[in-house]
Symmetry: C2
Subunit: 238 residues, 2 copies
Amino acid sequence: MENNSAQHLTGADFVGGAVTAIARLIRENDLKPGDRLPAEAKLSKDLQVSRTVIREALRSLAALRLVELGAGKRPTVAELDDASFSMTIEHGVVTDQIDIQQIYDARRTIEARTAALAALRRTEGEVRAILSHAKAMAENFDNSDEVMEHDLAFHLAIAKASKNPVFALIIGAFQGVTRQTWPIGWKSRANDDERRAMNALHLDLAQAIAAGDPQSAADLMNRHFDQSIKALLNAGLI
Amino acid sequence: MENNSAQHLTGADFVGGAVTAIARLIRENDLKPGDRLPAEAKLSKDLQVSRTVIREALRSLAALRLVELGAGKRPTVAELDDASFSMTIEHGVVTDQIDIQQIYDARRTIEARTAALAALRRTEGEVRAILSHAKAMAENFDNSDEVMEHDLAFHLAIAKASKNPVFALIIGAFQGVTRQTWPIGWKSRANDDERRAMNALHLDLAQAIAAGDPQSAADLMNRHFDQSIKALLNAGLI
DNA sequence: CCTATTAAACCTGTACTACAGGTTTTAAAA
DNA sequence: TTTTAAAACCTGTAGTACAGGTTTAATAGG
């Protein structure tokens, strides 16, 4: 039987208090993704605040992706998700608090590591996925949207193969802003040869990971980012 | 004169739609931190949804730290803040989706880079702050809480001196969970000599940054994390 | 006894009203 | 012009109502 009880709130910030109380409920009852929280009415009674306050608190937690909401369903504990960090990053870029070069520098730092870790830890299935995205980039050479999506999926697949969800979270969160600048880098590459070189680099990287060579994988990833940043500089974007 | 108008919503997910619409309002009107958004009543009228929906949407955006709310005040655009990502990380740890070693590996990867960048870009003021935290760690040797807080501040100061807000954001977000495990690493160090060695390492690192030596700074940061992870392994934590 | 169907109970999403108390703007006074 | 006071504006919380989705319980059929 569940013991999801919570103590009633005191103090000023009702919604904030409810957010904290519900987060504590998850922690102290060892709730895991998929587990159900008490209904709004019960939380309202337990915490001694109106349903209005509970709803706003649950909405806050849903925005942060700690819980999931659905019509008619009780709130459930959510799986780890990059959507919330993605919003933060996008906000930073939109409001000029982060620029694109800073995103790329962070990506290079992290992805040199995910490439090395992926080379050490990848499963056969992950190797196939990574290789298939690299090949799809070359095969869809004329459709830049396709190339971009496979590029993004390629990098995320490597992050996942690193077996560190923190890296996957961060790289996933960068995808939103990357989608907005990627075409600029693609167009700014002087000619098709440069674009083909980029695709070839992806293939080499995939093969280094497949071969289990962390040093080469990291080196190739760094080289890839050097080229990408140079292309964005040429475009005057950064 | 402001032109904060928004088009009315259509479709099913009212709150989600309002979140998107308000985020778009920020983007399309080039609003910056501190700028005011329309009042709830106006948003309600513009988007053709009840104030209830608008309030839940604003709470969502406040949870993500895109906006700031205050009694009597209109919502304002918020500055970049690590609180939202911090909640994500903590949720991942609490629900066993992230473990401590993964946090430390991510930190090592990123902080080797922030140390190198700080060595290249730090201002005099930043050097003073970094050095003062390293010294305070040694001086408060007997008060582990003090040591911990200066340790955290030391690492964050380096991240800020790297001049890449993305790194500062990520390192800041790790502080919450780090506070929960740091004492374990401290206690698990076999004797005071090991603890003193850790403090000495911080001082060396601070001096490498002060000297503008990125290679040494990165090396020392990596060595520091090797020791920390070893200490946590000894404690059986990971 | 087990399974399938149906009804009831439960629950969330949205809208609306009301008002206390905080904030900003406006208007009046000095 | 500056200060002060009033008015207008705005958010925070509580509560009611109801449509429509979901889960659970009860019922029927095998």
